[in-house]
Amino acid sequence: MSTSRIDRRFVACAAEGRAALVTFVSAGDPDYDTSLAILEALPGAGADVIELGMPFSDPMAEGPPIQRSSQRALRAGQTMAKTLAMVRAFRAGDRDTPIVLMGYYNPIYSYGNEAFLADAAAAGVDGLIVVDLPPEADDELCIPAAKHGLNFIRLATPTTDDRRLPAVLANTSGFIYYVSILGITGTASPDTSKVAAAVARIKKHTTLPVAVGFGVKTAEQASAIGRTADGVVVGSALVNAIAASLDGDGRATASTVGAVTGLVGELARGARLARVAAAE
């Protein structure tokens, strides 16, 4: 298989001896223009891979921070068409940073699977994470996505045992996303020693990079997880930073973009420190 932008980025980070920082924000949070400004500022702040949330009214696996972020975006009028337009606008100025769209199946199904895949690929999307499409549903979107050159990134969880892992990995490409806790985003923090064991277990089954997320909030956690994982995913902490920067009416302020890039900068330093610390 030809290498994708995602493959190349993980290889490059590995060559620098560090974990990739994967950042999540919801498209259109708190509004389209601010969200695009955040997106465009992320690579410079230290994000290696961008996960862009496709807002959904009923995000089943998300805790309150991302639920609220999704709601802010929807209230500001975000739609799937606008999310794809945002990627197109970003791609015009950045040819190298991978973008992974993350969300739930219904808005995609409503857009039309084939139309979505074609439009996403044309916009410059590199991969998809669709929380409610397990491997049992691979013929819905995962296999068609490959035909459009889009990676399909699957979540593995603490309940995904060795018997099930091969099925989860079978049609996964780009990277594998290890959900470090039993639960929803933005709640508990992972136990780093358990995460290390889980990453090692997954690596016995695949050569794909393993990124770890759910509950990573601080540079210290990013550093600890980056010691063993190929990528560290941060989401709730970033959308909380957006929320904290808004004015009383929930509108963006002059500090909104900086609130996100500032935190991303700290997290990136954490992720970069990881291997240095590990080597000592």
């Binding site: 959904f56 009214s57 009923d58 089943m60 696996a61 805790g63 639920q67 929807l74 739609t79 799937m80 739930y104 199946y105 219904n106 808005p107 995609i108 199904y109 409503s110 857009y111 929380v131 409610d132 499409l133 397990p134 049992e136 549903a137 699957r154 979540l155 593995a156 969880t157 603490p158 309940t159 995904t160 045992d161 099930r164 989860v168 959900v179 039993l182 639960g183 929803i184 709640t187």
Partner: protein, 413 residues
């Protein structure tokens, strides 16, 4: 969108949990191994005579089954008064409102709690809309000595105060859900989030024939006792099957329970009644997913959903908290598309009128949910010949609704 009629309507779902296009297992990976475990546990239980015997014993001695089949003579006469000559079908009720806890929900809860115990689960969670499923779940949890937590939309907590107190008396811990509009869909999201977080010890006792496979199948199977009894009772009473079945549709569990044993009886017409709210032409003003929605994926299954053009789920509206759900069980979506079952709406107003009519004419206070089914009976029976039989599932009693009905009628009590 009518698919070719199959040889039997009773064979579904397939091994992947689909009824044609509908159903399936659209869940996060964390839940997937659990759903597969549940499927295995249910397959085992189905083959185990001891499981069946225990459930039957509880149905008889705890719930009070079989529920009576009742010929509503006064209602029949009342509807004949304004009917054309020779018209006015005989109206029968399957009286599941007489069950312990006041609705059909207990049928499903007993089956599932036996399954939870078989699987070694030590904690029960559930979502509830009207509170009937919450009460039934809290009841069986008390009966089996298992801790129980119920998710209920904050709006519903307000409009169903008597059931909220009942759940607490029964020892359940109640979590009001403020996300979204604070109704059933939001409660279901929170229950799923709890389950993802506590998969190891927790059993999610879903209250309707929806959700990921195998829930639609197992809930249907536990509720099918309604239709099996009704068939036998009708043969005993009239020496033949009814001509028409009518039931209300929230997620569709009472309806599929009545309908399923009759699906291959070609001469039996089957009608499901959705919540028409303020009317189908009022945007987001109803909860009729099959009459006013389109197929989508939510809460683990593909089914008809109320949604906007961008695939965002709408809240829907109904006077009845138990029908106020933007989706419907996947088997109903399939029965709709195959044309086997006809689905029609009844408005809030029609349900309120039917509620009052039954109370005065038969001395039975129905829940607002089956009052929707009754609204359709009121329209349909006078158009049918006198020798025809219409059987309605009177799936719940109205004690829980008297406060909100008073409010709608402008009475303060």
């Amino acid at each position: 969108m009518t698919a070719a009629a199959p040889n039997t309507f009773r064979a579904g779902p397939d091994e992947r949990g689909f009824f044609g296009l509908f159903g399936g297992r659209f869940v996060a990976e964390t839940l997937m191994p659990l759903i597969l475990d549940l499927e295995r546990a249910y397959e085992d239980a189905k083959k185990d005579p001891a499981f069946k015997a225990e459930l039957e014993h509880l149905n008889t001695h705890y719930t009070g089954r079989p529920s009576p089949l009742y010929y509503a003579e006064r209602l029949t006469e009342h509807l004949r008064k304004d009917a054309p000559a020779g018209k006015g079908a005989k109206v029968y009720f399957k009286r599941d409102e007489l069950n312990h806890t006041g609705s059909h929900k207990i049928n499903n809860c007993l089956g599932q709690i036996l399954l939870a115990r078989r699987m070694g689960k030590t904690r029960i969670i559930a979502e509830t809309g009207a509170g009937q499923h919450g009460v039934a779940t809290a009841t069986v949890a008390a009966r089996f000595g298992l801790p129980c937590e119920i998710y209920m939309g904050a709006t519903d907590v307000e409009r169903q105060a008597p059931n909220v107190f009942r759940m607490k008396l029964l020892g359940a811990e109640l979590h009001p859900v403020t996300a979204g509009n604070g109704t059933l869909k939001d409660a279901m999201n929170e229950a799923l989030r709890d389950w993802v977080t506590n998969v190891e010890n927790t059993y999610y006792l879903i209250g309707t024939a929806a959700g990921p496979h195998p829930y639609p199948e197992l809930v249907r199977d536990f509720q099918s006792v309604i239709g099996r009894e009704a068939k036998e009772q009708m043969l005993a009473a009239e020496g033949r099957l009814p001509d028409t079945l009518v039931a209300c549709i929230g997620g569709g569990s009472n309806a599929i329970g009545l309908f399923h044993p009759f699906l291959d009886d070609k001469d039996v017409a089957i009608v499901g009644v959705e919540a028409g709210g303020h009317g189908l032409d009022v945007e987001n003003g109803h909860a009729a997913s099959m009459n006013g929605g389109r197929p989508g994926v939510l809460h683990g299954n593909r089914t008809y959903l109320l949604q906007d053009d961008d695939g965002q789920i709408l809240e829907g509206h109904s006077i009845s908290a138990g029908l106020d759900y933007p989706g419907v069980g996947p088997e109903h979506s399939w029965l709709r598309d195959t044309g086997r079952v006809e689905y029609v709406p009844a408005t809030d107003r029609e349900a309120l009128d039917a509620f009052q009519l039954l109370t005065r004419v038969e001395g039975i206070i129905p829940a607002l949910e089956p009052a929707h089914a009754l609204a359709e009976v009121v329209k349909r029976a006078p158009r049918m010949d006198r020798d025809r039989i219409i059987l309605m599932n009177l799936c719940g009693r109205g004690d829980k609704d008297v406060f909100s009905v008073a409010r709608h009628l402008g009475v303060s009590i």
